[in-house]
Symmetry: C2
Subunit: 230 residues, 2 copies
């Protein structure tokens, strides 16, 4: 039975941009598992109620509903152990969790650059929800939150130094070939380029070159999705 | 033949405080390899000239001289493959490199808190070298660099969020048991407590509790070394 994935979409149903859903998309591709992705909007809580919560990604595998990207990655590894490993073994699974939390931090670090662009590109019915929930979280209007974003770029790019050094020394975070750690950290960067024309990374940044290598994987799965050339 | 390790020492030869040497000390203990540590001061470049450079750790294994903590870790893994793995496999080795660069960043983040304390506790013959080289690096006097360090604590502690979240979810960075990734990141925290009475971490911080678990490993190897109770 084909797996199904509820996948956050913008105003255009084919614009998929969630950093967390992208992790899962690449994890499924890594496992070689076919998936039917279902465009989902922030306010469609009823569609995923069977998962017991209201956020995507939500994976449906037969009669099992699995939410939370880290939980889904572990579910896929344990349910499909005969397929290529996402973690590279037990130690690899332990070592990968930190990458997942680093990626969460990267979402927070990128949000001031893209918040208003998200608002502009999501479905009309999502806009009130998005503005209200995010302005409550950041404590100001999205306009004020995003203002002067160019001035924040140097600090953002400097914060990528450990990733940059690692990706100068080896092609992927996991070494010669990518694993889930790569997909987890890739998610926030793919999120940004799918929803915002703002150029976060310089063209010759090793972090960008690594991102581009991941765009090419799995037949260009992530590159073919609607995005900006940044 | 017993391995030898040139290990940075303070004014007291038993005060060993290099964040990089501590990584190697724990890596050797993890491998179950006996080592004779040789107290070394910043200015004793001649003693390690055979390594082709002037920094510790330097490991001497028979007629081989190996420098750079990451190179040493890989050397130990490849030379003693029958002993417990430092990386947990090929993917684990790839995944561990990022921890090493994160740890380097942690050294830089901690330095403003401990720079002057280091100057106070190193050997007399090292003080000019240390002050001159570090003031050139940071672009100001060590006194000015360290001034008002309390005000920088909240940002420092906040920067540990991804580590904290990971170590709330599992006992070690590598999962249920520590690997080299843990030792790499532990190094900077051990450096601080060996050389400075300044309290970087709150007592109930999961990062501190993890550090304390590592202090207890290998018969309390890192806990028994001269240090401050912070």
């Amino acid at each position: 039975m084909t797996l199904r994935l509820y996948d956050l979409a913008g105003a255009e149903p084919e614009r998929r941009f969630s950093p967390y859903c992208w992790r899962t998309r690449l994890a499924l591709a890594h496992k070689g598992l076919a998936v039917e992705t279902i465009p989902w909007r922030f306010t469609e809580k009823a569609a995923i109620a069977a998962s017991g919560q209201g956020l995507v990604p939500v994976l449906v595998d037969g009669d099992r509903w699995v939410s939370d990207s880290w939980t889904i990655a572990n579910y896929l590894e344990d349910t499909y152990p005969e397929r290529p490993s996402l973690f590279g073994g037990a130690a690899g699974r332990g070592l990968t969790r930190y990458y997942s939390t680093v990626a969460d931090g990267l979402v927070a670090a990128i949000f001031p650059f893209v918040a208003l662009d998200i608002l502009d590109r999501i479905a009309a019915e999502d806009r009130d929800y998005f503005r209200t929930s995010r302005e409550k979280r950041v404590g100001t209007t999205l306009e004020a939150f995003t203002a002067g974003r160019e001035t924040k770029l140097p600090a953002f790019r400097s914060g990528l130094t450990p990733l940059r050094r690692t990706l100068t020394a080896q092609p992927f975070l996991a070494g010669d070939e990518p694993l889930y750690a790569d997909y987890a950290v890739f998610g926030p960067l793919q999120w940004a380029r799918c929803i915002s024309p703002f150029e976060l990374l310089e063209k010759d940044d090793p972090v960008r070159l690594w991102r581009d290598r991941l765009l090419d994987r799995f037949g260009g799965l992530a590159r073919k999705s609607p995005a900006y050339d940044v």
